[in-house]
Protein backbone atom coordinates (compact mmCIF):
# COMPACT_ATOMS: atom_id res chain seq x y z
CA UNK A 1 0.00 0.00 0.00
CA UNK A 2 1.52 3.28 -1.07
CA UNK A 3 1.49 6.20 1.33
CA UNK A 4 0.56 9.66 0.13
CA UNK A 5 4.22 10.64 0.44
CA UNK A 6 5.24 7.79 -1.86
CA UNK A 7 2.49 8.81 -4.29
CA UNK A 8 3.68 12.41 -4.27
CA UNK A 9 7.27 11.27 -4.75
CA UNK A 10 6.26 9.01 -7.65
CA UNK A 11 4.60 11.98 -9.35
CA UNK A 12 7.84 13.96 -9.16
CA UNK A 13 10.18 11.50 -10.86
CA UNK A 14 9.89 10.06 -14.39
CA UNK A 15 7.30 7.24 -14.55
CA UNK A 16 9.02 3.95 -13.76
CA UNK A 17 11.95 5.54 -11.95
CA UNK A 18 12.27 4.42 -8.33
CA UNK A 19 11.96 7.77 -6.57
CA UNK A 20 12.29 6.17 -3.16
CA UNK A 21 15.67 4.69 -4.08
CA UNK A 22 16.88 8.03 -5.44
CA UNK A 23 15.74 9.70 -2.25
CA UNK A 24 17.59 7.11 -0.15
CA UNK A 25 20.79 7.71 -2.15
CA UNK A 26 20.35 11.42 -1.64
CA UNK A 27 19.89 10.87 2.10
CA UNK A 28 23.00 8.66 2.21
CA UNK A 29 24.95 11.37 0.37
CA UNK A 30 23.65 13.98 2.80
CA UNK A 31 24.54 11.81 5.81
CA UNK A 32 28.11 11.36 4.51
CA UNK A 33 28.39 15.12 4.02
CA UNK A 34 27.15 15.63 7.57
CA UNK A 35 29.68 13.15 8.94
CA UNK A 36 32.48 14.84 7.01
CA UNK A 37 31.38 18.23 8.33
CA UNK A 38 31.91 16.96 11.88
CA UNK A 39 35.64 17.27 11.17
CA UNK A 40 35.05 20.90 12.20
CA UNK A 41 34.81 19.75 15.83
CA UNK A 42 38.12 17.89 15.68
CA UNK A 43 39.85 21.01 14.39
CA UNK A 44 37.98 23.19 16.87
CA UNK A 45 38.79 21.01 19.90
CA UNK A 46 42.50 20.93 19.00
CA UNK A 47 42.60 24.71 18.93
CA UNK A 48 40.37 24.98 21.99
CA UNK A 49 42.79 22.89 24.04
CA UNK A 50 45.65 25.06 22.87
CA UNK A 51 43.99 28.01 24.61
CA UNK A 52 44.85 26.50 28.00
CA UNK A 53 48.15 26.02 29.76
CA UNK A 54 49.04 23.81 32.72
CA UNK A 55 49.87 25.57 35.92
CA UNK A 56 51.06 22.71 38.08
CA UNK A 57 48.10 20.39 38.10
CA UNK A 58 45.52 23.01 37.14
CA UNK A 59 44.59 23.89 33.61
CA UNK A 60 44.23 27.66 33.19
CA UNK A 61 43.23 29.86 30.31
CA UNK A 62 46.04 31.56 28.51
CA UNK A 63 44.55 35.00 28.08
CA UNK A 64 47.23 35.89 25.59
CA UNK A 65 46.08 33.11 23.27
CA UNK A 66 43.75 33.92 20.38
CA UNK A 67 41.39 31.41 18.85
CA UNK A 68 41.77 31.23 15.03
CA UNK A 69 38.89 32.73 13.05
CA UNK A 70 35.77 30.61 12.72
CA UNK A 71 36.02 30.60 8.96
CA UNK A 72 39.57 29.29 9.16
CA UNK A 73 38.48 26.46 11.46
CA UNK A 74 35.51 25.66 9.27
CA UNK A 75 37.87 25.04 6.35
CA UNK A 76 36.43 22.48 3.92
CA UNK A 77 34.11 20.80 6.36
CA UNK A 78 30.98 21.86 4.44
CA UNK A 79 32.48 21.16 1.00
CA UNK A 80 30.70 17.77 0.87
CA UNK A 81 27.36 19.55 0.49
CA UNK A 82 28.75 21.67 -2.33
CA UNK A 83 30.02 18.57 -4.15
CA UNK A 84 26.68 16.78 -3.65
CA UNK A 85 24.78 19.82 -4.93
CA UNK A 86 27.05 20.01 -7.98
CA UNK A 87 26.41 16.32 -8.73
CA UNK A 88 22.65 16.73 -8.76
CA UNK A 89 22.40 18.40 -12.20
CA UNK A 90 23.68 15.05 -13.50
CA UNK A 91 20.53 13.50 -12.03
CA UNK A 92 18.45 15.99 -14.03
CA UNK A 93 20.30 14.89 -17.16
CA UNK A 94 19.73 11.22 -16.24
CA UNK A 95 16.00 11.87 -15.82
CA UNK A 96 15.70 13.44 -19.27
CA UNK A 97 17.87 10.71 -20.85
CA UNK A 98 15.65 8.07 -19.21
CA UNK A 99 12.87 9.02 -21.65
CA UNK A 100 15.06 7.94 -24.58
CA UNK A 101 16.21 4.64 -23.06
CA UNK A 102 14.65 1.29 -24.09
CA UNK A 103 11.71 3.18 -25.62
CA UNK A 104 10.87 6.70 -26.75
CA UNK A 105 8.60 7.62 -23.86
CA UNK A 106 9.65 11.20 -24.59
CA UNK A 107 6.99 11.10 -27.35
CA UNK A 108 4.30 10.48 -24.76
CA UNK A 109 5.65 13.07 -22.33
CA UNK A 110 5.83 15.69 -25.09
CA UNK A 111 2.22 15.22 -26.06
CA UNK A 112 0.72 15.46 -22.60
CA UNK A 113 -1.77 18.30 -22.22
CA UNK A 114 0.23 19.46 -19.18
CA UNK A 115 3.35 20.68 -20.91
CA UNK A 116 5.26 21.10 -17.64
CA UNK A 117 4.82 17.47 -16.61
CA UNK A 118 8.07 16.31 -18.25
CA UNK A 119 10.13 19.09 -16.68
CA UNK A 120 8.46 18.71 -13.30
CA UNK A 121 9.28 15.01 -13.21
CA UNK A 122 12.87 15.52 -14.38
CA UNK A 123 13.83 18.52 -12.28
CA UNK A 124 11.83 18.38 -9.01
CA UNK A 125 13.82 15.83 -7.01
CA UNK A 126 17.32 17.04 -8.00
CA UNK A 127 16.24 20.64 -7.45
CA UNK A 128 14.88 19.81 -3.99
CA UNK A 129 18.16 17.97 -3.36
CA UNK A 130 20.15 21.08 -4.26
CA UNK A 131 17.95 23.20 -1.99
CA UNK A 132 18.33 20.65 0.82
CA UNK A 133 22.13 20.69 0.42
CA UNK A 134 22.21 24.48 0.56
CA UNK A 135 19.80 24.50 3.51
CA UNK A 136 21.72 21.85 5.44
CA UNK A 137 25.04 23.60 4.81
CA UNK A 138 23.57 26.92 5.99
CA UNK A 139 22.02 25.40 9.13
CA UNK A 140 25.28 23.60 9.99
CA UNK A 141 27.19 26.83 9.41
CA UNK A 142 24.92 28.55 11.94
CA UNK A 143 25.14 25.66 14.43
CA UNK A 144 28.94 25.46 14.19
CA UNK A 145 29.19 29.21 14.43
CA UNK A 146 26.98 29.15 17.52
CA UNK A 147 29.17 26.43 19.07
CA UNK A 148 32.29 28.45 18.26
CA UNK A 149 30.89 31.63 19.76
CA UNK A 150 29.42 29.99 22.88
CA UNK A 151 32.30 27.69 23.79
CA UNK A 152 35.23 29.91 22.96
CA UNK A 153 36.23 32.06 25.92
CA UNK A 154 35.43 35.64 25.01
CA UNK A 155 38.95 36.75 25.98
CA UNK A 156 40.34 34.59 23.19
CA UNK A 157 37.86 35.56 20.47
CA UNK A 158 39.10 37.63 17.58
CA UNK A 159 36.65 40.42 16.64
CA UNK A 160 34.31 40.59 13.60
CA UNK A 161 33.75 36.85 13.19
CA UNK A 162 30.39 37.19 11.44
CA UNK A 163 31.73 39.79 9.02
CA UNK A 164 34.66 37.52 8.22
CA UNK A 165 32.24 34.78 7.18
CA UNK A 166 30.53 37.13 4.76
CA UNK A 167 33.86 38.30 3.44
CA UNK A 168 34.92 34.69 2.88
CA UNK A 169 31.66 33.71 1.12
CA UNK A 170 31.37 36.84 -0.97
CA UNK A 171 35.00 36.50 -2.00
CA UNK A 172 35.97 39.94 -0.73
CA UNK A 173 39.63 40.20 0.14
CA UNK A 174 40.39 42.52 2.99
Amino acid sequence: MKTSFEDTLARHVPPGVDGKRELIWLAVGGALCLLYSLSFFIVYLNHYQALFVWDGTARVLNTEAVMPDFIALLGNSLTGFLILALCLPALIFYHYAYHYRDSMSIYLMKRLPDRWELHRRCISLPFCGILACCGAAFILLLVYFGVYMLLTPSACLAPDQWQKIWIAFLGVVK
Binding site: P15, M104, S105, K110
Partner: protein
Amino acid sequence: MIEVRNVSKSFGGKKALDSINLTLPQGQIVGLFGENGAGKSTLMKCILGFLRFSGEITLDGEPISSRNIARLSFATNEHSFFPNLTAQAHMEFYQLHFPKFNEKRFRGLMEFFELPANKALRHFSTGQKNQFEVILSLCQGADYILMDEPFAGSDVFNREDFYKVLLGILEPTETVLLATHLLEEVEHFIGRAILIRRGRIVGDISMLELEESGRKLIDYVKETYHYQADRVSKALNELTGEQ
Protein backbone atom coordinates in the same frame (compact mmCIF):
# COMPACT_ATOMS: atom_id res chain seq x y z
CA MET B 1 -10.06 18.15 -39.43
CA ILE B 2 -6.28 18.19 -39.53
CA GLU B 3 -4.96 20.51 -42.21
CA VAL B 4 -1.35 20.41 -43.30
CA ARG B 5 -0.49 23.44 -45.41
CA ASN B 6 2.76 23.89 -47.27
CA VAL B 7 4.78 22.03 -44.66
CA SER B 8 8.50 21.61 -45.29
CA LYS B 9 11.17 20.15 -43.08
CA SER B 10 14.90 19.83 -43.67
CA PHE B 11 17.59 17.92 -41.81
CA GLY B 12 21.01 19.47 -42.36
CA GLY B 13 20.09 20.90 -45.75
CA LYS B 14 18.39 17.69 -46.92
CA LYS B 15 14.67 18.10 -47.50
CA ALA B 16 12.68 15.50 -45.60
CA LEU B 17 9.32 17.12 -46.38
CA ASP B 18 8.77 19.38 -49.34
CA SER B 19 5.65 21.58 -49.39
CA ILE B 20 3.23 18.98 -48.08
CA ASN B 21 -0.48 19.80 -48.37
CA LEU B 22 -2.95 17.42 -46.85
CA THR B 23 -6.32 17.30 -45.09
CA LEU B 24 -7.49 14.58 -42.74
CA PRO B 25 -11.22 14.79 -42.02
CA GLN B 26 -12.69 12.97 -39.05
CA GLY B 27 -13.87 9.42 -39.48
CA GLN B 28 -11.40 8.12 -42.06
CA ILE B 29 -8.89 5.31 -41.96
CA VAL B 30 -6.01 6.54 -44.06
CA GLY B 31 -2.96 4.58 -45.17
CA LEU B 32 0.28 6.51 -45.57
CA PHE B 33 2.68 4.66 -47.82
CA GLY B 34 6.21 5.27 -48.95
CA GLU B 35 9.64 3.68 -48.99
CA ASN B 36 12.07 4.04 -46.06
CA GLY B 37 13.10 7.66 -45.67
CA ALA B 38 10.18 8.94 -47.75
CA GLY B 39 9.04 11.23 -44.93
CA LYS B 40 6.17 9.29 -43.31
CA SER B 41 7.54 9.44 -39.77
CA THR B 42 8.74 13.02 -40.22
CA LEU B 43 5.27 14.09 -41.32
CA MET B 44 3.68 12.47 -38.26
CA LYS B 45 6.25 13.99 -35.92
CA CYS B 46 5.58 17.42 -37.43
CA ILE B 47 1.83 16.97 -36.92
CA LEU B 48 2.45 16.02 -33.28
CA GLY B 49 4.75 18.98 -32.76
CA PHE B 50 7.88 16.90 -32.04
CA LEU B 51 9.77 18.64 -34.85
CA ARG B 52 9.98 22.24 -35.94
CA PHE B 53 8.86 22.87 -39.50
CA SER B 54 7.94 25.63 -41.89
CA GLY B 55 4.31 25.89 -42.99
CA GLU B 56 1.15 25.39 -40.99
CA ILE B 57 -0.61 22.48 -39.33
CA THR B 58 -4.00 23.05 -37.72
CA LEU B 59 -6.61 20.98 -35.94
CA ASP B 60 -10.10 22.34 -36.62
CA GLY B 61 -8.50 25.66 -37.53
CA GLU B 62 -6.38 25.92 -34.36
CA PRO B 63 -2.62 25.35 -34.21
CA ILE B 64 -1.77 22.12 -32.41
CA SER B 65 -0.70 22.98 -28.88
CA SER B 66 -1.06 21.70 -25.31
CA ARG B 67 -4.69 22.88 -25.46
CA ASN B 68 -5.75 20.39 -28.15
CA ILE B 69 -2.90 17.85 -28.25
CA ALA B 70 -5.01 15.34 -26.27
CA ARG B 71 -7.13 14.96 -29.42
CA LEU B 72 -4.16 13.25 -31.08
CA SER B 73 -2.65 9.95 -30.07
CA PHE B 74 0.43 8.22 -31.40
CA ALA B 75 1.60 4.64 -31.71
CA THR B 76 5.12 4.08 -32.97
CA ASN B 77 7.38 1.10 -33.55
CA GLU B 78 9.93 2.91 -31.37
CA HIS B 79 7.36 2.54 -28.54
CA SER B 80 6.33 5.47 -26.41
CA PHE B 81 5.43 3.62 -23.21
CA PHE B 82 7.54 3.31 -20.05
CA PRO B 83 9.28 -0.08 -20.01
CA ASN B 84 9.50 -0.18 -16.21
CA LEU B 85 5.78 0.35 -15.68
CA THR B 86 3.04 -2.25 -15.82
CA ALA B 87 0.01 -2.01 -18.10
CA GLN B 88 -2.12 -1.15 -15.08
CA ALA B 89 0.23 1.71 -14.14
CA HIS B 90 0.06 2.99 -17.72
CA MET B 91 -3.70 3.03 -17.52
CA GLU B 92 -3.54 5.08 -14.33
CA PHE B 93 -1.02 7.47 -15.89
CA TYR B 94 -3.19 7.95 -18.97
CA GLN B 95 -6.31 8.46 -16.86
CA LEU B 96 -4.48 11.16 -14.94
CA HIS B 97 -3.53 13.07 -18.10
CA PHE B 98 -6.20 12.21 -20.65
CA PRO B 99 -9.70 12.75 -19.23
CA LYS B 100 -11.31 10.93 -22.16
CA PHE B 101 -9.30 7.75 -21.62
CA ASN B 102 -11.53 4.81 -22.52
CA GLU B 103 -11.05 2.31 -19.70
CA LYS B 104 -13.69 -0.08 -21.01
CA ARG B 105 -11.96 -0.31 -24.37
CA PHE B 106 -8.59 -0.70 -22.64
CA ARG B 107 -9.73 -3.59 -20.48
CA GLY B 108 -11.49 -5.22 -23.43
CA LEU B 109 -8.41 -5.04 -25.65
CA MET B 110 -6.08 -6.19 -22.86
CA GLU B 111 -8.31 -9.20 -22.37
CA PHE B 112 -8.63 -9.89 -26.09
CA PHE B 113 -4.86 -9.90 -26.60
CA GLU B 114 -4.32 -11.70 -23.30
CA LEU B 115 -1.79 -9.15 -22.10
CA PRO B 116 -0.80 -9.29 -18.42
CA ALA B 117 -1.87 -6.23 -16.47
CA ASN B 118 0.70 -6.42 -13.68
CA LYS B 119 3.91 -7.26 -15.52
CA ALA B 120 6.46 -4.58 -16.39
CA LEU B 121 6.42 -3.90 -20.12
CA ARG B 122 10.13 -4.62 -20.50
CA HIS B 123 9.25 -8.28 -19.94
CA PHE B 124 6.72 -8.31 -22.81
CA SER B 125 7.58 -9.92 -26.16
CA THR B 126 8.02 -7.62 -29.18
CA GLY B 127 4.56 -8.55 -30.44
CA GLN B 128 3.00 -7.81 -27.07
CA LYS B 129 4.82 -4.48 -26.86
CA ASN B 130 3.46 -3.53 -30.27
CA GLN B 131 -0.03 -4.57 -29.26
CA PHE B 132 0.18 -2.57 -26.06
CA GLU B 133 1.49 0.50 -27.89
CA VAL B 134 -1.49 0.39 -30.24
CA ILE B 135 -3.94 -0.31 -27.40
CA LEU B 136 -2.78 2.84 -25.59
CA SER B 137 -3.21 4.95 -28.72
CA LEU B 138 -6.71 3.54 -29.28
CA CYS B 139 -7.81 4.08 -25.68
CA GLN B 140 -6.48 7.58 -25.06
CA GLY B 141 -9.78 9.04 -26.22
CA ALA B 142 -8.22 10.85 -29.17
CA ASP B 143 -10.06 11.83 -32.34
CA TYR B 144 -6.97 11.32 -34.49
CA ILE B 145 -4.84 8.22 -34.02
CA LEU B 146 -1.47 8.37 -35.73
CA MET B 147 0.30 5.05 -36.17
CA ASP B 148 3.85 4.82 -37.45
CA GLU B 149 4.64 1.27 -38.54
CA PRO B 150 3.04 -0.03 -35.35
CA PHE B 151 3.27 -3.68 -36.35
CA ALA B 152 6.98 -3.82 -37.25
CA GLY B 153 8.26 -7.07 -35.79
CA SER B 154 4.79 -8.52 -35.21
CA ASP B 155 3.75 -11.76 -36.85
CA VAL B 156 1.00 -11.93 -39.46
CA PHE B 157 -1.63 -13.36 -37.05
CA ASN B 158 -0.94 -10.58 -34.65
CA ARG B 159 -1.47 -7.99 -37.36
CA GLU B 160 -4.59 -9.65 -38.83
CA ASP B 161 -6.21 -9.67 -35.39
CA PHE B 162 -5.50 -6.02 -35.00
CA TYR B 163 -7.01 -4.95 -38.30
CA LYS B 164 -10.19 -6.80 -37.43
CA VAL B 165 -10.38 -5.38 -33.94
CA LEU B 166 -9.65 -1.91 -35.21
CA LEU B 167 -12.49 -2.03 -37.69
CA GLY B 168 -14.80 -3.32 -35.00
CA ILE B 169 -14.10 -0.81 -32.28
CA LEU B 170 -13.52 2.51 -34.04
CA GLU B 171 -16.19 5.15 -33.57
CA PRO B 172 -17.37 7.02 -36.68
CA THR B 173 -15.60 10.16 -35.47
CA GLU B 174 -12.22 8.50 -34.98
CA THR B 175 -9.58 8.93 -37.65
CA VAL B 176 -6.59 6.67 -38.12
CA LEU B 177 -3.50 7.67 -40.08
CA LEU B 178 -1.50 4.50 -40.53
CA ALA B 179 2.02 4.58 -41.96
CA THR B 180 3.05 1.13 -43.13
CA HIS B 181 4.79 -0.88 -45.83
CA LEU B 182 2.20 -3.64 -45.69
CA LEU B 183 0.13 -2.53 -48.66
CA GLU B 184 -1.72 -5.73 -49.37
CA GLU B 185 -2.54 -6.36 -45.73
CA VAL B 186 -4.19 -3.03 -45.11
CA GLU B 187 -5.84 -2.30 -48.45
CA HIS B 188 -9.11 -3.91 -47.40
CA PHE B 189 -9.32 -1.97 -44.23
CA ILE B 190 -8.31 1.57 -45.20
CA GLY B 191 -10.61 4.05 -46.92
CA ARG B 192 -7.95 6.24 -48.47
CA ALA B 193 -4.32 5.88 -49.51
CA ILE B 194 -1.71 8.63 -49.48
CA LEU B 195 1.60 8.03 -51.20
CA ILE B 196 4.67 9.94 -50.15
CA ARG B 197 7.99 9.91 -51.97
CA ARG B 198 11.14 11.89 -51.24
CA GLY B 199 9.18 14.22 -48.98
CA ARG B 200 6.39 14.97 -51.44
CA ILE B 201 2.82 13.69 -51.68
CA VAL B 202 2.75 11.86 -55.00
CA GLY B 203 -0.63 10.17 -54.71
CA ASP B 204 -3.84 10.57 -52.76
CA ILE B 205 -6.79 8.36 -53.66
CA SER B 206 -9.85 6.87 -51.99
CA MET B 207 -10.20 3.10 -52.04
CA LEU B 208 -13.64 3.57 -53.60
CA GLU B 209 -12.09 5.33 -56.59
CA LEU B 210 -9.53 2.56 -56.88
CA GLU B 211 -12.21 -0.08 -56.73
CA GLU B 212 -14.26 1.65 -59.38
CA SER B 213 -11.28 1.82 -61.67
CA GLY B 214 -10.75 -1.92 -61.15
CA ARG B 215 -7.20 -1.53 -59.87
CA LYS B 216 -5.53 -2.80 -56.78
CA LEU B 217 -3.61 -0.59 -54.39
CA ILE B 218 -0.31 -2.17 -55.36
CA ASP B 219 -0.98 -1.36 -59.07
CA TYR B 220 -1.73 2.26 -58.16
CA VAL B 221 1.49 2.45 -56.15
CA LYS B 222 3.53 0.98 -58.99
CA GLU B 223 1.95 3.38 -61.49
CA THR B 224 2.57 6.36 -59.28
CA TYR B 225 6.15 5.36 -58.59
CA HIS B 226 6.72 4.54 -62.31
CA TYR B 227 7.79 1.10 -61.24
CA GLN B 228 9.64 -0.73 -64.04
CA ALA B 229 8.39 -4.29 -64.04
CA ASP B 230 11.35 -5.58 -66.03
CA ARG B 231 14.05 -4.05 -63.82
CA VAL B 232 14.72 -7.30 -61.95
CA SER B 233 15.12 -9.40 -65.12
CA LYS B 234 17.34 -6.67 -66.65
CA ALA B 235 19.54 -6.58 -63.57
CA LEU B 236 19.79 -10.38 -63.48
CA ASN B 237 20.71 -10.46 -67.16
CA GLU B 238 23.43 -7.92 -66.59
CA LEU B 239 24.76 -9.77 -63.58
CA THR B 240 24.76 -13.20 -65.18
CA GLY B 241 25.52 -12.08 -68.73
CA GLU B 242 22.62 -14.20 -70.03
CA GLN B 243 19.95 -13.02 -72.46
